[in-house]
Symmetry: C2
Subunit: 264 residues, 2 copies
């Protein structure tokens, strides 16, 4: 399997930590202080074994996104990158070039600040634009900032903003196999947008080593479904619907690009 | 005592909750979803009794700050407001007008997002500009987002950014009274920038009702010094150095404005 995930969101929302937690690798370095002046696109690939399958994973990072005083143009390098990959694939199909590594992005994890209010104007506008180019999976970053009640309310408001602004986020399919699979898929699907937490520290809890964040008032566990939706995101994206995000990219976004390009 | 506090920071950083927690009043309404297109200035006053003194408190809120896609001009209405108050006071001194209520801002609580990295370019530029006009007290918002280690590291990085960028934040004086007062003042002073948490929920802990945030993994208490620096901020600003922030505003920022205005 070749899987390319783009990560979009302001600096400091725990994106690197989440990716490293999901893939149990240090593919993302914790970049310290210097915020780039413009958005740059950085792709890093790693070969992994996930859930019994071999995965060639590429993470496309977008440092500088949303971090300037004026963010009017920060989508431009991102859209250019997304289209360039479709263009490379098209050239390959038409026999115009020799094989280049296929970096078409299968899904974009869009990180939302856990404000507790609603989507920011920047998020609404940018998610809308991106949703026409790539599978968007919105995630609520640093979900341990929200109490259970706040999380529920915030998810409701986000989905309301998404619907009202006509943002077409990626929709996980239903699993029509056995009844247990169907029910768990339905349960995980109901948690969208996933409220995620990541951790780069491993803590021993009840004799077991787990990724967790240790506060003075308690320890938030990444893989505890009562603490956050990390397990749901990982299961839905990497286990249950891996083939579907790849198929939608091929059959919807790529064909859309091809149609427009050939029409010119 | 007349005390005017300005609150500056992006929407969703818990500003309203913190102010209401500090003054045990609902002076700030929890404004829901609609982010204003430009920065507006809203002043709300309330009469309180705090630590045995009568306080006429005015909170100057700045909704819309930092919430647009392009934030280049979001300081303009704020600077205009700050200068207008000095101007009103000058007109009064020169006998040019009848008394208007004195809304000169004694301190500005500048809310920093708990990213765990460093100050954002916007924060550096805007804090620098504001620090020439008003007492700036930077606070790390939603400090329960940070583990104790992250908090320490983040504070160090923020102070480094502040020093390197020559941002003159308000400096609490030393208390040269008795040794106990001196030591507690020194201890609280060492916690700058204060990592604060606020809560609009009251929870019963060990038979006592306290403001706290209840998570699945534990309850973070606002007034527990091991959980956050709320008690230090409240004590330093409202109890130990209330007169000093007023004096510095009168003797430094107001006189500075007056000198420049009369020189024109
Ligand atoms: N509260 C909280 N902090 C987190 C979480 N994930 C990462 N962090 C911390 O947030 C800071 C920034 O994380 P990082 O992954 O570098 O963010 P990035 O800039 O978006 O890549 C670090 O101090 C992390 O330990 C999370 O889920 N919750
Ligand atoms: N984690 C955390 N959440 C907070 C804190 N203070 C407030 N909140 C929550 O953050 C959300 C926004 O708070 P609010 O005070 O309206 O933020 P404002 O927009 O800056 O005025 C609400 O859901 C609050 O309950 C805090 O200290 N920590």
């Amino acid at each position: 399997f070749i899987l390319t995930i783009m990560v979009v969101g302001k600096s400091g929302l725990g994106k690197s930590t989440l990716i490293n937690s999901m893939f149990l690798t240090d593919i993302c370095e914790y970049v310290a202080s210097i915020a780039p002046k413009t958005v740059s696109i950085e792709a890093k690939s790693v070969s992994l074994r996930e859930n019994g399958i071999n995965l060639l994973l590429t993470i496309v990072d977008t440092p500088g996104f949303g971090d300037s005083i004026d963010n009017t143009n920060c989508l431009i390098p991102i859209i250019e990158f997304l289209e360039k990959q479709h263009d490379n694939h098209l050239k390959l199909e038409l026999g115009h070039s020799t094989p280049v590594c296929d970096l078409r992005v299968h899904c974009c994890l869009y990180f939302i600040q856990p404000t507790g209010h609603s989507l920011k104007p920047l998020d609404i506008q940018f998610m809308k634009t991106l949703s026409n180019k790539v599978n968007i999976i919105p995630v609520i970053a640093k979900a341990d900032t929200l109490t259970p009640e706040e999380r529920t309310e915030f998810k409701t408001q986000i989905m309301k903003d998404i619907t009202e602004n006509d943002i077409k986020i990626y929709e996980f399919p239903n699993l029509l196999g056995d009844i247990e699979e169907y029910k768990q898929n339905k349960l995980f699907k109901s948690k969208v947008p996933f409220a995620v937490m990541g951790a780069n520290t491993v803590i021993e809890i009840n004799g077991k080593k787990v990724r967790a964040r240790k506060y003075a008032w308690g320890t938030a566990e990444v893989e505890n479904l009562e603490h956050c939706d990390f397990v749901a995101l990982k299961s839905m994206l990497l286990h249950k619907h891996l083939q579907d995000v790849i198929d939608v990219t091929d059959n919807v976004f790529y064909l859309d690009y091809k149609r427009n390009k050939l029409a010119q």
